[in-house]
Each structure stands twice: as C-alpha cells, then as structure tokens.
C-alpha cells in the first residue's frame, strides 16, 4: 500500500505532462468559460433596471457570485475524466491499469489533480486577465471574499465532484454509452447546483429542498462561502453535508468498482 502511494507523484507528473501537451485546448476552454459571466452581466443588468435588489442580491453582489463561480468551477470541476474512465472500461485499456500495484481510485485521483493543475497553469493568465478587464467594467464586490471559509469549501467541492464523476463513469461496466447519463447529471448540476442562478433566489421551500441534494455543494455552497455570504453555522452545516455526500459517493464508487470488476471481461492479446 505504501509502495502504491509512492507511485502517485509519478502518475501525477505523467498526467500533468499529458495534459499540458494540449495547453491550447485549455486556453480556449478558459477563455470560453468567461463568456457566461459576460452574458450574466448583460442579462442581470437589464433585470436590475429600476430595481436596487433582487432577493437579497444587489447587481454587484450577484455579479460577484458569477465571477467567483468561474474560479470555483476552474479549480474543482473535472474536465473529461468521466469520458476517459468510460473509454478505459469500454475499450479494455483498463487491463494494463489493473496490472499495476495501484488502487484505481487513487490513480484516477492523481490524474484528476494533474488535470486541474494543468488547467490552472494554462488558464491562470487568461482567467486573471478576464477578471481584471471585467472588474473595470462590471461592478464586483471583491472586498468581501472570505478565503478562510472559501478554500476548504472549494476543496470539498473538488472531492465531491470527483467522487460523483467516478460513480457516473463506473456505470460503463453495465452501459455501452454513458454520455446521455453524464449530460443529464450536468443539467441537474447546473440547475440545482446554483450554476444558472444563486440557489437562494429560489422560493424558500425549493431552496431548502436544493440544500438537501449533493449538487448544491458542488457550486452554490463553495461560491457563497468564498463570497462571504454564509453565516458560521450555515458554513459548518454546509461543510458537513458536502463531506457527507462525498463520502457517500466514494463508498458507492467502491461498491460499483468491486461489482463491475466481477462483470468485466479483459479481451485481446
């Protein structure tokens, strides 16, 4: 087991090199990811015409939410890990990984981490540039940023998103094509995760319901924590829910992995 852990830096390094080979892809991804922020600025600017607040938000605080969401997403969201895992299972390249003395979950975690690091390296400059340019034209409330509560919530979000991705991808043991399932969950993540609008704009009953689901802790919770809009008790409850859901998905993934391996057939020579 200890030997397995010592292999992780090498897996991370290989993953990082592989990811950075496609840095233009990451650069484009980073540039395009700023587009929703621009659209939000135009749309919400029109919504706020003649109004000072919508729900508990001013225009500045709402746009800050979307800007911080951009950062949270770039740090914590998997890129195409789900499709990679699915391909490994479907095409049988999993065979060579199974022969290695390294737990598959840890192997994928190292690759996920390298992917996020590569993305940050390639995207850091364009995202910061976008942020700087936007802050010149868009009113942002960056003074209220709470790093002490925000960073643990972002790390928890990365863990939660990785474990959920692992669960979804492992369905490839039973399904031929999982892309429909992945896009269906994406849509749920966007709506119930606070990606399209902050969840506290929902009617109170729906907001409470959304807080029971895992999706809220992928985007809305870390973003609100980083924006500094959560009370200490709400933050603590959120962290407990976030890590609780992450643990749940890790256990489910472990069960799926064991059941899937029993069904998996390694063919070819």
């Amino acid at each position: 087991m200890i030997a397995s852990f010592s292999a992780l830096p090498t897996v991370f390094s290989i993953g990082l090199q592989r990811q950075l080979a496609y840095r233009w892809n990451y650069l484009l991804r980073a540039l395009f990811s700023a587009m929703p922020l621009l659209v939000s600025w135009v749309f919400w600017g029109a919504v706020f015409q003649g109004k000072s607040t919508v729900g508990s938000y001013t225009l500045a605080s709402l746009l800050t939410y979307y800007a911080v969401l951009l950062i949270v997403e770039s740090v914590s969201s998997p890129a195409d890990d789900d499709f990679q895992i699915s391909r490994e299972i479907r095409e049988g390249t999993l065979n060579s990984i199974l022969l290695r003395p390294l737990p598959y979950g840890l192997y994928r975690a190292a690759l996920f981490l390298s992917g996020r690091c590569a993305y940050l390296v390639a995207a850091a400059i364009p995202v910061l540039l976008c942020f700087f340019l936007l802050s010149r034209v868009v009113p942002l409330e960056l003074g209220s940023i709470d790093l002490a509560r925000g960073i643990p919530a972002i790390l928890g979000s990365a863990l939660l998103q990785f474990s959920l991705t692992l669960c979804l991808s492992l369905t490839s043991f039973w399904l031929l094509d999982i892309s429909a399932l992945i896009f269906l969950v994406y849509s749920l993540e966007f709506l119930a995760g606070g990606h399209v609008f902050p969840l506290d704009l929902l009617p109170p009953v729906l907001f409470r319901f959304a807080q029971c689901l895992p999706f809220a802790y992928e985007y809305w919770f870390p973003t609100a924590a980083l924006c500094g809009t959560l009370s200490p008790s709400a933050w603590l409850t959120g962290m407990a829910m976030q890590f609780g859901w992450a643990l749940f998905f890790i256990l489910v993934a472990q069960g799926m992995w064991k059941a899937g391996l029993r069904k998996y057939t390694a063919a070819g020579g």
Partner: protein, 265 residues
Amino acid sequence: MSSLFHLFRLWLIQLRYATTRELAFRANFFIWVIVELSWFVLQLAFVDVVYQHVDSIAGWSRPQMIVLVATNQLIQQIFTAFLMPGLVKLPESVRDGKLDFILLKPAPPQFLISTSHLEIGPLANALIAAVVVALALHDLHITPSLSTLLLYLVLILAGLLTHYALLLSLVSLTFWIVQAESVLLGYYSIFQVARLPREAATGWFRILFTFALPLLLVANIPASTLLRGFEPASLLLFLLTCLTAAIFASLFFQLGLRRYQSASS
C-alpha cells in the same frame, strides 16, 4: 443548378443512411430526448425564477421571454439534428487521419462533413419547443398570420445558418490546434448570447453581437416577428450578417483544410 440538385440528392442519401444508423439504437433516441429536454426545462426554470422577482426585462414580459427562449431552442435543436453531429466529429477526423476518406470522395468536403451524421432525438425536442412557442403566443392572445409564420420559418433558416457559420469556424480551428474538443464548450458558451433580449445589450456588446457575430439576432428577430410583426430593417440586417458569417466560415474552413496533413503512415 445540376450540381445543386446533385448535392441535394447526396444529402438525401446521407440522411437515409444516418437515419438507418440512428434507428439501430432506439433506446438511445429516447434517452437523448430526455437529456435535451432537461436542458430546455432548465432554461424555462431560470426564466420562471427571474420573473418571480420582476415583471419585465428590457421590455419583455414573461410569456414574451418564453417565446424568445423557445425560439432559440427550436433553432438549436434543428441544428443539433442535421448539422452539428457531423461538424463536431471534425477534430477527431483530423487527429486520427480519417478525414482522408472524406477528401477522396467526389463531393465538396465541407458538404460531406456537415451532412455526414444525423440525430433524430433533437427533432422531437424541436417539436416540443414549437409547442411551447404556440402556448406562449396563446397566453399573449396572439394569432400569427400565415405570412408571419412563413417569414418566421425563413428566419429560423437564417438562424440555422448563423449557428452553422459559428460552429464551422470553431471546429476549423482543429487544423491549427490538435485537440480542439473545447470548441464545443465555446459554441455553447457563445450561444448563450442568443437567449438574451436584444434590448438588454448596450454599447460594444450590442455592436459586437449584432454586426460581427449576429447572435443577438438569431432568436430575437424571429421571436420579434411573431410578437411585434415584420421589421424590414432588422430583417435585412439579419440576413446580411448571417450570410457574411457563413461566407467567412467557409473561407476559414478552406484555409484550414490546406494545412491538413494526413495522419496515416
């Protein structure tokens, strides 16, 4: 004229082949209808949440906004059915050299790439979007005349051409960037602009997305035609900009194609 007829026949053959291939996976059809429908519901839910806090956005009431969002969905789904599936496969074909097989065929490569695949599922969602447009119009007590409906259909075609121009330009980047899968993310990100009411945009944003990339016109002009009637100046502007965008995209694709080097040994 005869070459156009030849291309049309070729398109019908490609459609028949693609339909046969799609019907081999019937369960997939229903699953994708649900997936695309969930994204549409997401957009309508967003409209609903926002209109719980305001009565009007840039002069658009809730049912009017639904006409706009559903018109955008209608155009996007028709595009997703007929043209998008072929275009998004271009980066992979360039990377693994399968583009060779297309280039060897006696027909324009751009045409073959664009029409090589078909997805039937989005057509069901286009129908649902059309029903939502009709319901929202009913809510507004608007009964469009036959000429308005015909004009709406022509404008939908112009919208498709704009979608096509943008995605063709984006996937053509693959001739310069080896892994260009992010272009699909770019396409979806940029086309969020099409859902905005045109009146909400001001300054450089409005100029950029009206004249350079006419995304603010794609759904706005057809929806406005249904809601407020025929506006000749806007219509002419839309047709001119979408044609310019399509010509530019085609030239960009040809330029990229010259850089293509087969990946085979």
